[in-house]
């Protein structure tokens, strides 16, 4: 059988940068194919070309052996290609069913009930759990992703591209996603999955293509390879050692004290129900939990974006004002938001993004000090190995490099407290490693670090203490030495281990 998709000699340049450099890439029918590579290697670019979002400067694409020119997503969709991007393309105010059908209505008149029934059937046939009448803007990230998958399937795709689908998912949701992908595979569909997690590559894929600096450096059958071999291919050298937090003895004063937070959301749902926690200087406290148990709300309050109904937060003894991001960052609280797009302004330059949070330090009587701004950017770009020039627009950076802007900005200025929400989401192995090192450095410096992550492994690796969040409060605390994964897992899902 010919490959269902064949990309030959694909080259794509952005100005002086060659994002894809003569790439050959092919997909067999019914296979799950992992696409691997460091941040900025060109994975998303290649997939956007396949989806008709970008036009290659050279090379050709064949589908079922036939040369095609995909000049728009509409054409790619007709050719049976579906794309779930790193950033979702959903209309927040529409229901799930409306989002799924949008652009593919079939007839001029819409019958709301018929519409939701067909969407529901599609979902059920794939064992996708989702309320088709829910408003998309109110769904969790994981649920929104399911809507995106549903959208692609509703359009009858044969090849589903998923750009870092697991980056936004909790472990349980990842397992569920993989189940869905296997169901699709069982029906003869092919899946291209981009991920930075090697264990996921081995869990789900049959073949792997590795990109480095825009070129293919290897294409192997997954079972013939090892994580170490893939990692080495990706970075082009022996892989880094894993940084791990081993010194749990330190006992400084409490720097971040959160007391009895309660928060009701706009719909009247209780999101935080008396949440308390404290973090000492030199300590990393990990908050583990299934997405949607109040993590986002906690982060919103601590980063100055939301006010709780009641409760208090103090930083080094000083009360933390609510809904005042400036005051929060003045208290030397470094903030890593869970959604990159809320932390970076895509249409401004990298250098502006790197200074806006402390703009007063770069201003003389209201006038911007260009030289200082540029110097600051150059220093941070070097220190955090951001692949960009200071004057590039932030939105032209790869996902991982956008995340590095946030890290550089927040960790670059000696913080007292670090609120790190999903800090390594979407980062490659090397960069993840790097972030972990930076967080450990902050611990060494004596900063208090609150790490909110859906990646349990990350939490186990870095934390001195582990808190489990469930339904808006802390359901259990473990010292790192005697953390039991199964106990943590049980608490995360609401079981009472002592009952």
């Amino acid at each position: 059988m010919p490959p269902i998709i064949e990309m030959r000699g694909i080259t794509k340049r952005f100005g002086a940068l060659t994002a894809n450099d003569g790439i050959d890439f092919s997909i067999e029918p019914g296979e799950i194919h992992a696409l691997l590579g460091e941040n900025g290697a060109g994975k998303s670019t290649l997939m956007k070309i396949l989806y008709g979002l970008y036009q290659p400067d050279a090379g050709e694409i064949r589908i079922n052996g036939q040369p095609v020119r995909l000049t728009s997503p509409a054409e790619a969709i007709v050719s049976g290609i579906g794309f779930v991007s790193q950033h979702f393309a959903l209309v927040p105010k529409f229901t799930v069913a409306e989002n799924v059908v949008l652009g593919h209505e079939g007839s001029r008149t819409l019958h709301p009930t018929a519409m939701s029934t067909t969407v529901m059937e599609t979902a059920a046939s794939l064992r996708l759990l989702i309320d088709v009448n829910a408003i998309v803007g109110r769904l969790s990230v994981g649920e929104q992703q399911r809507v995106e998958i549903l959208k692609a399937l509703y359009r009858d795709c044969k090849v589903l591209i998923m750009d870092e689908p697991t980056a936004v998912l909790a472990p349980g949701d990842i397992a569920a996603l993989f189940d869905i992908l296997r169901v699709l595979q069982g029906r003869g569909m092919s899946v291209i999955i981009i991920t930075h997690k090697l264990d996921e590559v081995f869990a789900i894929s049959q073949r792997v293509t590795v990109l480095r600096l825009g070129k293919v450096v290897g294409e192997v059958r997954t079972q013939d390879s090892t994580p170490a071999a893939l990692a080495q291919m990706m970075v082009g050298r022996q892989t880094v050692t894993v940084a791990r937090n081993t010194d749990h003895r330190r006992q400084d004063a409490v720097k971040l004290d959160v007391r009895d937070l309660r928060l009701t959301d706009k719909r009247g749902g209780l999101r935080l129900r008396g949440l308390s926690l404290e973090v000492r200087g030199g300590e990393i406290v990990g908050v583990a939990g299934v997405a949607g148990n109040g993590q986002s709300e906690l982060v919103s309050v601590l980063t100055g974006m939301a006010a709780p109904d009641s409760g208090s937060v103090t930083v080094g003894g000083a009360p933390l004002p609510f809904r005042d991001p400036k005051a929060v960052s003045r208290l030397k609280v470094a903030r890593i938001p869970e959604d990159r797009l809320k932390g970076v302004i895509g249409d401004l330059s990298v250098q502006d993004n790197l200074m806006l949070e402390s703009v007063e330090d770069f201003t003389r009587m209201g006038h911007l000090d260009r030289a200082r701004i540029r110097a600051n950017a150059e220093a941070l770009i070097r220190a955090f190995q951001i692949k960009a020039a200071p004057t590039d627009l932030a939105r032209t950076l790869s996902g991982g490099n956008i995340q590095k802007i946030i890290l550089a900005r927040s960790l670059g200025h000696a913080p007292e407290v670090v609120i790190a929400a999903q800090p390594t989401r979407g980062l490659d192995i090397g960069a993840t490693e790097y972030v972990h090192q930076k967080l450990l450095e902050q611990k060494e410096r004596g900063a208090a670090i609150l790490l909110i992550s859906e990646d349990l492994e990350e939490i186990l690796l870095l934390s001195d203490r582990i808190l489990v969040i469930y339904e808006g409060r802390i359901a259990g605390t473990f010292a790192a030495q005697d953390a039991q994964i199964d106990q943590i897992g049980a608490l995360m899902t609401g079981a009472h281990p002592h009952a």
Binding site: S72, T303, G343, L356
Partner: protein, 351 residues
């Protein structure tokens, strides 16, 4: 068979500077239908509209005079639009400025000209701000849509002007609905001999340059741009979004007010109901055509003034209605918006 394909993706770099040119060409192609209908040759009309005014000194000066108010309203609109505040009320703010300027001017008897004119400018700026204040506050406190409120206040302002001119300010000498004439020492000096180009032109250029500098080089300007690009992220970064938008709205109103000052102090020397033939709305066209950048706004103000002046020539020489220039401006706005949209796509010839 060849056909036209439109695909997403940014227009190629070489195309971008051509966008205004394309807009202009398409607009004139469209408008030439009307010109033919009015019984003139489109080529002659284009000559009269775009070339003829540039060949004569007096017409060139007229262009500068005509560019003065729309440069100011264009800058005013752009300042607000940059941070995502859609101020449609420059027309009303212009009249607010004109009222205060006329009042100061009428009562400026005996003051040195520098003081009189300075006071008029300050008063006009404050008046524009004042008239912009209510919608700005409603927006920042209650999130009331500024498009609606600023637009409605334009009509309210027209009533106020008409009430003033038919009541307390009716010219005691002629009895016309126009204010008394401002004092001689409050009248703007002419800056080009034998023309009607007045001090207001310099004010407009200085304001445009100041705003240019502000947007590019100051913290305030950067923050405004940040808010316009991504409000939520701007908030996260600690920018006081509401305060900044409020400030931008007021500055926008003030600059629009200056346009009114110029018309009273430099052209009419009194307040009348027909002071502005929609300069406030033309400002929206100027700002949009100029892509909200100051060099762009300056160029498009001059260009629209050229068309306005050209329409007078065309009317005289070819007997096409002067309203032609209004039609061209409106068409130009629509075409520009369409071309800007196309800017996000590529057009390809393919099989």
């Amino acid at each position: 068979m060849l056909n036209l394909k439109i695909e997403r993706g940014p227009a190629p770099l070489w195309l971008r500077p051509l966008i205004p040119v394309i807009a202009v060409v398409v607009t004139f192609a469209l408008v030439s239908v009307l010109i033919l209908w009015a019984g003139a040759s489109p080529f002659d009309a284009v000559y009269q509209l775009l070339i003829n005014p540039l060949t004569r000194t007096s017409a060139r000066a007229d262009i500068l005079m005509m560019a003065t108010p729309i440069l100011l309203t264009g800058v005013a609109v752009a300042v607000a639009f940059v941070c995502g505040y859609y101020n449609i009320g420059a027309e009303g703010q212009l009249y607010a400025g004109a009222i205060f300027a006329a009042w100061v001017g009428v009562n400026a008897e005996g003051l040195p000209p520098v003081v009189a004119i300075g006071l008029m400018l300050i008063a006009g700026f404050l008046a524009g701000m004042l008239w912009a204040l209510l919608p700005a506050l409603l927006k920042s406190w209650l999130s009331v849509d500024e498009v609606v409120t600023t637009l409605l206040l334009n009509s309210v302002m027209l009533f106020i002007v008409s009430a003033l001119l038919n009541g307390p300010w009716r010219d005691p000498v002629s009895g016309w609905p126009q204010s008394p004439t401002i004092a001689l020492n409050a009248q703007f000096p002419v800056i080009i001999a034998r023309s009607r180009v007045h001090l207001g032109f310099i004010v407009a250029v200085v304001v445009a340059l100041a705003v240019w500098w502000m947007l590019a080089r100051t913290r305030f300007g950067l923050e405004l741009r940040a808010i316009g690009k991504n409000r939520e992220a701007a908030q996260f970064l600690g920018i006081p979004v509401r305060r900044r938008v409020l400030a931008a709205a007021l500055i926008s109103g003030g600059i629009a007010g200056l346009a009114g000052v110029g018309e009273v102090g430099g052209i009419h020397y009194y307040l009348i109901g027909s002071l502005s033939p929609g300069f406030g709305y033309t400002g929206i066209i100027v700002a949009t055509l100029g892509a909200l950048t100051m060099p762009g706004v300056m160029l498009s103000a001059l260009f629209l003034a050229l068309i306005n002046r050209g329409a007078i020539s065309a009317n005289r020489e070819l007997d096409v209605p002067v309203y032609l220039s209004d039609v061209i401006q409106a068409a130009l706005l629509l075409v520009t918006l369409a071309v800007l949209l196309l800017n996000r796509y590529r057009i390809r010839w393919g099989r």
